[in-house]
């Protein structure tokens, strides 16, 4: 680099104190923080204001006391819980098999997880409608094989919504558990065995507790994301399975009830963040111990 350019660059760096000294990291963060503040925190704050428009808690009152809306909340929690359980039951063995597989199989397994994971939820939901619909592939196959006499209702009900959501959320469960399993020092398992533990005891006393942080992280993530699901219940629920997100969308687009939608949104947000904090704390305690 010619000397003149060097000097120019030095001068430039002097002109941008942002990138020098201990102040650097603070200054560098200002722009993204301002951006997120303006376009994320501010709108969310306005949402809270909107929910108490007119200075009353009427919207919240309506959301909590009405049986209709309470049912939606309960249904949302129920589906989120089922989805979380199914994901956990499927993810733990899968993560375990992956954690013991040879590098080639790990790669194949990761492809099988990543490809669906990064495929549009719309595409996947549509595919489930093809597969599970009344005239869908599965029903046609079962009818053709004579297993069933009449098509089975697999979508436009809770079953369909759960299948679709598990498909979307499973990778979120597998990855934290898988990485927790990779972090387990294999000598610990040998040590436990050498000290007299049976296979089951090694699992229950050593392996499971050590992979618990991953289980908690995955469970938290899947449950929280489940609560706010919109596309899958909207399409696979066929108007019969109403989760909170679907309710919020209806309130705005059909009834233009912005204030009430804002109140529902705030409730959903607070619940999600509450679970996030709670499980975060639980996870942290688990990691420390």
């Amino acid at each position: 680099m010619p000397a003149s350019a060097q000097i120019a660059e030095r001068r430039q760096s002097r002109m941008i104190p942002v990138l020098r000294g201990e102040q650097g990291p603070v200054m560098v963060g200002l722009l993204p923080v301002a951006f997120l503040g303006l376009l994320f925190l501010l709108p969310v704050l306005r949402l809270f204001l909107l929910s108490v428009e007119g200075g009353t808690l009427a919207h919240f009152d309506k959301a909590i006391t009405s049986d209709l809306y309470l049912t939606v909340f309960i249904e949302t929690f129920r589906i989120a819980a089922i989805v979380t359980c199914c994901s956990l039951l499927m993810a733990y063995p899968v993560a375990y098999v992956l954690s013991t597989a040879s590098p080639r199989w790990v790669l194949i397994g990761l492809v099988f997880l990543m490809l669906p994971f990064w495929t549009s939820i719309l595409v996947r939901t549509y595919a489930w409608m093809i597969l599970l619909g009344r005239n869908g592939v599965l029903n046609q196959a079962l009818l053709g094989a004579g297993v069933i006499k009449q098509p089975v209702a697999l979508i436009f009900n809770t079953t369909g919504v759960v299948i679709g959501m598990v498909h979307v959320l499973l990778p979120y469960m597998v990855f934290p558990i898988y990485s927790a399993m990779l972090r387990v020092n294999r000598d610990l398992l040998l040590a436990a065995e050498g000290l007299g533990a049976s296979g089951w005891s090694v699992f229950r006393r050593i392996f499971l507790p050590l992979t618990m942080p991953g289980v908690i992280a995955g469970t938290a993530l899947v449950f929280i994301l489940s609560l706010g699901f919109y596309i899958t219940p909207a399409l696979l629920g066929g108007g019969k399975v109403i989760m909170i997100a679907v309710l919020i969308e209806q309130q705005v687009r059909q009834f233009l009830e912005w204030g009430f939608a804002a109140a529902l949104s705030c409730l959903l947000l607070v619940i999600a963040v509450l679970f996030y904090v709670l499980l975060n704390r639980l996870g942290r305690r688990e990691t420390i111990a």
Partner: protein
Amino acid sequence: MSPTVHRTLRARNWLLPALRVFTGLVFLFLMLPLLIVFPISFSSSAYLRFPPPGYSLRWYQAYVNDPVWIDATIRSLKIAGLATAIALVLGTLLAFSIVRGRYRGREALNQISALPIIVPSIVYSIAVYGLFAKLRLIGLWPGIALAHAVLAIPYVTIVVAAGLKTFDVAQEQAAMGLGASRLTAVRRITLPQIRPSLISAAFLAFIASFDELVVAMFLGGSNMTLPKKMFDNIMMEVDPTIAAVSVLKITLVTLLLALAARFGAGVRPAV
């Protein structure tokens, strides 16, 4: 048993094979929906038949020849491109700040920067709609790009921060000791070495925006994005054009994943 792969849990002989079979079934469950759209997209029939009665390219032609689909696709590409650029710059700056900073509140900032992932998209949509209506940004594609950038920043920050943590600051200091300015040191020494992270981050940001439905539905007005057009198409059960679009999207993701795997670093759900 090879010396590198240790047996992990001493289990009954049938257990591990059983778990492997179970894992295979789960992978089948994951892959089946992706595979099923391929034959449907090449079907000659407008109705759902499986296997299709005949094969044709008519649904691909229907997609290419329909200006609504093409407009929506172009709009989504523009939005995703802009959102990726914004998120990449801001998310990287944020990652630098969080990893390198020694100021108080750094940990809090780290937590807050992950919030857009936790906040349900419907909630964010309602929230940002109010602001954008006031700013008269509704119906304008750059507005959607801004909102998508917000959603994509956490992915970028997490991936780039992970890359930065493994980078030895001493190299940057060495470069500065050899006469480089801080800016030059970052540009010549640090950025090239975290390039895989940046590539992965860009990939995540792009997909996050390109596939996003709910925010775009609220902010888009009458200008549909590709996901919105797909959503309407599925809702109305119009025809298998959606299957052709699906195949194209799966192909795109496969391509991007392959590229990211080749040039990127650890493309995984970053949370």
